[in-house]
């Protein structure tokens, strides 16, 4: 509780903010009786201009004109109503509240003799300005992207959906970070069950700090042990608005430019906004291209290993003689060669990401050209294997969502080992495992493999193909039919 005695309040707050140089205690007097007042704030996160102009200036210049009895309890209301030219002003009665508000970038105004205070919203957080999407760049389509500041992100969404049904529910997650997390959905479009379930899951998160939406994702996904992501993400406001009107729920996390989107099904990870912005022939073409690339990225090295070690009869004669000639000098079995090459490729890829851009390019040239060329000419790997690995790597870049493409990269390795141990039987077994898993997976109660299984034919219009835009007016059937329980 705030005390009437200002000195006590100051003592408490100073104790709380011991060793924090950035917390400012500004003491001043008001009125004829020279009543002691206090303003506490953190300089670095407060808009000092607003504070000076709309608080100090108005209060000190105009105060003496009016006759305000500062001894009365109503004085606080009077000041709030007449003198402070700031939009968001709240009355606080608890010291803990004061501490929290100070940390949120607000100024806390206390008056001697009154056991309440005002918290003035003057916060000003440092953030970068709106940039272009980096991981989801498109040739055609809007090119603004979310930033780390949640307020900007909300404004970008509000800009695109002007309806009062667009709800923004605020939560605070993290004992230390008290990160603002906003769950957004369109009431009446999004399924109530999903919204309630999401709220429940978000409220249950018990952690000290949240630094990115990726952490939230791992807390609320249905099957955390699955290699496949069940929650999609995006940095593009246009996708968010499209997903919201499809009945999906978004979670915005302060400090993360990536917005979580769910329920997300398998086909969502293989579609890109560009599919809708170009004409439908090409939209369909790139969709199919992506599905083929998905299969190549997952299976190509293991099929190569299986065919060359177990099923040589499946390879045409002329190709087989070339392959034999190519592999003649290679000392390792095909499966070891494949694992070695894939491992090298992953190392190169990781190295390229970490390094600054100019050096990164040099590394990729050294890696791809020189290392590959030399490995072939020395005879450690065959050049066919280099082709296979390179093509697989390129194919995995076609998958638009990063979290799906890394899951594919991971799954490639067990498949290669299966192919190396039992050939095509192994690949088929691995494929069946994956299929069973995919079909049984759920994302917030929506079957992950819909619309293929369970079958909902109307939604095939927007899966492996994209039908003309006027046939896609309804929201997906599988988003409505949510027969299965949310686990």
């Amino acid at each position: 509780m705030l005390s009437e005695n200002l000195e006590e309040n100051i003592k408490f707050l100073k104790l709380k903010f011991m060793d924090c140089f950035d917390v400012i205690f500004r003491e001043f007097t008001l009125g004829k009786n020279e009543t002691k007042c206090l303003l506490v704030y953190i300089q670095e996160i407060v808009n000092t201009e607003t504070m000076n102009k709309n608080f100090f200036h108005s209060l000190m210049e105009d105060f003496n004109v009016y006759n305000v009895n500062l001894d009365k309890k109503e004085a606080l209301e009077a000041i709030k109503n007449k003198f402070i030219e700031i939009g968001n002003v709240e009355k606080i009665t608890l010291l803990e509240e004061a501490v929290e508000d100070i940390l949120d970038g607000k100024c806390v105004f206390l008056i001697s003799g009154i056991s309440a205070g005002l918290s003035l919203n003057t916060s000003k957080w440092q953030h970068r300005s709106i940039g272009e999407p980096i991981s989801e760049a498109v040739v055609r389509g809007p090119s603004e992207s979310f930033t780390e500041a949640i307020s900007i992100n909300i404004s970008l969404i509000r800009k695109r959906l002007k309806t009062h049904n667009l709800k923004m529910e605020k939560l605070e997650i993290g004992h230390l970070s008290r990160t603002r997390v906003v769950m957004s959905y369109i009431k009446g479009v999004a399924c109530e069950k999903v919204v309630n379930e999401a709220r429940k899951r978000l409220e249950k998160i018990d952690i000290d700090s949240i630094n990115d939406s990726g952490e939230i994702e791992q807390f609320i996904e249905d099957n955390p042990y699955s290699p496949f992501p069940q929650i999609s993400y995006t940095e593009r406001p246009d996708i968010v608005s499209a997903c919201l009107s499809d009945g999906k729920v978004e979670v915005l996390v302060d400090g993360s430019p990536l917005v979580l989107v769910f329920p997300a099904v398998f086909v969502d990870f293989l579609s890109s906004p560009e599919d809708y912005y170009v004409r439908f022939y090409f939209g369909t073409f790139i969709r199919m291209l992506r599905y083929i690339a998905f299969v190549i990225a997952l299976f190509l090295p293991s099929i190569y290993v299986a065919m060359t070690t177990y099923h040589q009869e499946m390879i045409p004669m002329s190709l087989l003689t070339t392959l034999i000639a190519v592999r003649a000098a290679v000392p390792f079995p095909a499966v070891i060669e494949a694992l070695l090459m894939e491992f090298t490729f992953e190392v190169l890829r990781k190295a390229g990401i970490r390094l600054p851009k100019p050096i990164g390019e040099a590394v990729s040239i050294v890696g791809a050209l020189i290392l590959g060329e030399l490995a072939v000419s020395v005879g450690i790997v065959s050049n066919v294997m280099v082709i296979i690995v390179a093509f697989t790597g390129i194919a995995s870049f076609v998958i638009p969502k990063y979290n799906q493409s890394i899951s594919i990269r991971l799954l490639r390795f067990p498949l290669m080992i299966l192919a190396g141990s039992t050939g095509l039987f192994g690949i088929i077994t691995g494929f069946l495992f994956l299929l069973i898993h995919l079909v049984s997976l759920r994302s917030f109660g929506v079957p992950y493999f819909s619309p293929f299984s369970p079958l909902s034919l109307p939604d095939w219009k927007d899966s492996m193909v994209r039908f003309p835009i006027w046939t896609l007016r309804k929201k997906p059937e599988f988003m409505k039919k949510r027969s299965s329980k949310i686990r």
Binding site: Q312, L320, I324, V326, A328, P333, T422, T429, S440
Partner: protein, 405 residues
């Protein structure tokens, strides 16, 4: 995992474990250990053993510029009491795992063919590695001799033979190379014969020999260096045994009777033997009909062809209808002549029904077959075979008046 998922998970898991633990073979072979057998020759040795000869290809890696080096062809041979035995004995000298899945030709020596090829058909059809598309060729010498002659133009003899077979497939029904599957089918049917290509080599007297010949060393040294492979005529089989040879024209006649000839060239004399004429048929139809008159059996074979004139040296105006009729007549006569030669050969020389007359009765007149089936080999030489051929020219094959006029 929910219940049903668990069940399926365990089912698949069980199967996979079973696959690993309980299966006997594990077919892991690295590519570099493979020797690709592309042609297999089979002979009967005088002592009754079976000799197998293979041409196996082993690519040896890359040259300095990264281009594949010329692959090594390994010609291996071994004998054994059975074919399987001989195949195993090959491993005594083979440096690679011999794999037969890309085998293209089975070349059978005359001795073995006369002895009967039933054994090898049986053996090869059981194996996993032999494809049914294998072409079967018969050679009047031994398969070993045949497979050790040098290649002329191609890198090895197999590619050479393949080139010959492919170039003959179209437009020329004078050679017919049967594949393994059809031979297997015929073998199972017992009462029907079949023909397949006859491969031989001849000595090339000319000096126009391909340059790649020099690369081929020992096997083709000396006089053999000049040998060239050729496929000409056919070997005739009846009940797994080789019974004789027929030439190209007779092969064409056989194909026409069987209705297998799709394209073909027939060359005949025209205008009272003064001009020669080449006729290409595009379609042919064959009709067989049996007539029974008491004990007398007669067959009617009716062949109809449509086609065009390919080559013609004449001064007649060939656009006139009567000239066209004359030409049709001439071609029909040639075909009839070939048919006569073939049927005579079957009835008088071989005295074996490889033309499928017996099969026809067996299918169309099963009651008759029951009466005469057992004695068919005796009856066949005395049946009366009538044949008729009708060639039609449906277009002249010229686009304007002849230049030489």
């Amino acid at each position: 995992m929910v219940g049903y998922e668990k069940k399926i998970f365990y089912a698949v898991n069980n199967n996979y474990t079973n696959l690993i633990i309980n299966t006997g073979c594990w077919g892991r072979t690295e590519l570099s250990d493979l020797g690709l057998v592309t042609a297999t020759g089979i002979d009967l040795e005088p002592d009754g053993n079976i000799r197998i000869t293979v041409i196996s290809i082993t690519p040896t890696g890359f040259g300095a510029k990264g281009e594949p080096e010329k692959s090594n062809s390994w010609i291996g041979t071994a004998t054994g009491k059975t074919l399987a035995d001989a195949k195993n004995n090959l491993n005594e000298t083979a440096t690679k795992n011999l794999a037969w899945f890309h085998n293209r030709f089975i070349i059978i020596g005359e001795n073995f063919a006369k002895h009967g090829i039933g054994d090898i058909i049986d053996h090869l059809s059981r194996g996993r590695q032999f494809r049914y598309e294998n072409k079967v060729l018969i050679t009047p010498t031994t398969a070993y001799d045949m497979l050790t002659i040098p290649a002329d133009v191609e890198k090895n003899l197999v590619l050479e033979i393949e080139g010959i077979v492919n170039s003959m497939k179209e437009e020329w029904s004078k050679v017919y190379v049967e594949n393994f599957k059809n031979i297997l089918v015929n073998y199972c049917e017992k009462k029907s014969g079949f023909i397949t290509g006859r491969i031989h080599y001849f000595k090339n007297e000319n000096t126009t020999i391909s340059t790649s010949r020099g690369d081929f060393n020992e096997a083709g040294s000396g006089e053999r260096q000049q040998y060239v492979a050729a496929i000409k005529g056919s070997g005739v089989f009846m009940d797994e045994k080789l019974i004789g040879w027929i030439d190209g024209d007779e092969t064409q006649a056989y194909m026409l009777i069987k209705g297998k000839a799709r394209n073909g060239v027939i060359t005949s004399r025209y205008n009272d033997g003064k001009d020669s004429l080449s006729y290409v048929f595009k379609r042919s139809k064959s009709k067989m009909k049996a007539e029974f008159d008491g004990n007398k059996i007669s067959f009617n074979i009716d062949i109809k062809m449509t086609g065009r004139i390919e080559v013609l040296y004449t001064e007649q105006n060939i656009l006139k209808e009567e000239e066209i009729n004359k030409m049709e007549e001439a071609v029909s006569e040639t075909v009839k002549h070939n048919l006569e030669k073939l049927i005579k050969k079957a009835q008088e020389e071989f005295e074996v029904d490889f033309l499928g007359f017996g099969e026809y009765i067996f299918r169309r007149h099963p009651k008759r077959w029951k009466e005469i089936g057992d004695r068919w080999d005796e009856i066949f030489p005395y049946i009366e075979a009538k044949y008729n051929a009708q060639a039609k020219i449906d277009n002249s094959g010229i686009i304007s008046k002849l230049v030489i006029n």
